[in-house]
């Protein structure tokens, strides 16, 4: 396709309404990338821990700081969103839940479940402290 094509264009992406199901599809990709970065942080922490208490201290200080905790909270929520929607995908893969109402319902369920799991995880953190 040439840049100056005279052919009529179909309406651009922003013309269409963004239903929750479509938004969740985008979120699944975005959280996938975010979690890839999270994996790098995990490896960094593990490598620091393997190098002894002195090497671990700066990593620990970063994670314990307000931005570290905010990062970990965001990572937890991203993980659970990707996790719950991933399970939704696995159900689709075996041919379950393809009806339109079910798809819309499970999209909402993903947000509810991910929020509940995030809160549950951080409640455990708070109670252990």
């Amino acid at each position: 396709m040439t840049a100056h094509s005279k052919l009529p264009l179909s309406p651009h992406l922003q013309i269409y309404r963004l239903p929750l199901t479509a938004l969740l599809s985008v979120i699944h990709r975005a959280t996938g990338v975010v979690l890839g970065l999270g994996c790098l942080i995990l490896v960094w922490v593990l490598a620091a821990a393997a190098n002894g208490p002195e090497a671990f201290e700066p990593a620990f200080q970063h994670l314990a700081s307000w931005y570290g905790q905010l990062f970990l909270f965001g990572m937890t929520f991203s993980l659970y969103l990707h996790f719950c929607n991933g399970i939704r995908h696995l159900f689709w893969d075996v041919g379950m839940g393809f009806e339109l109402e079910t798809v819309a319902k499970t999209a909402k369920l993903v947000f509810v479940a991910a929020t509940a799991l995030t809160i549950a995880t951080w409640l455990v953190v708070i109670f252990v402290e």
Partner: protein
């Protein structure tokens, strides 16, 4: 179009990329493995009193070390497969696309190995 395909290629059903559903299947297998592992990982870390000593003592348990290595392996494999799809969708220049996929794959492999070696170093206590 069917007349241009040999009967053998139709039976094999591997398509133009010659790998059939391998990519898709491995994405699902790694997802399946990660499902219990991630719940265990998140809640174990959440329930752990923070500090170097507790973390190292936890990883040093053989069962934990095995599960962590499996988690790191499956995570980076899953990430490599997913990021490849994203690169294929959004990078249209063939050379840039191929180089991005190779670079991304090598990085996943490299950081996966660093993670596994770190766990082994702690678990074997050297």
């Amino acid at each position: 179009m069917d007349e241009f395909r040999t009967p053998l290629s139709r039976v094999k059903g591997l398509g133009s990329a010659k790998e059939g559903t391998t990519h898709f299947w491995r994405q699902r297998l790694t997802a399946l493995v990660l499902t219990p592992l991630l719940l265990w990982f998140c809640f174990s870390l959440a329930a752990m009193p923070v500090g170097h000593a507790t973390l190292v003592a936890w990883i040093a348990q053989p069962a934990v070390a095995v599960a962590l290595i499996l988690l790191i392996f499956a995570s980076f494999y899953h990430a490599q497969l997913g990021l490849q799809i994203i690169i294929e969708d959004y990078v249209s220049t063939h050379s840039t696309r191929t180089i991005s996929i190779i670079g991304m794959s090598f990085l996943c492999l490299l950081f996966g190995i660093i993670g596994v070696v770190a766990v082994l170093k702690i678990a074997l206590g050297t």
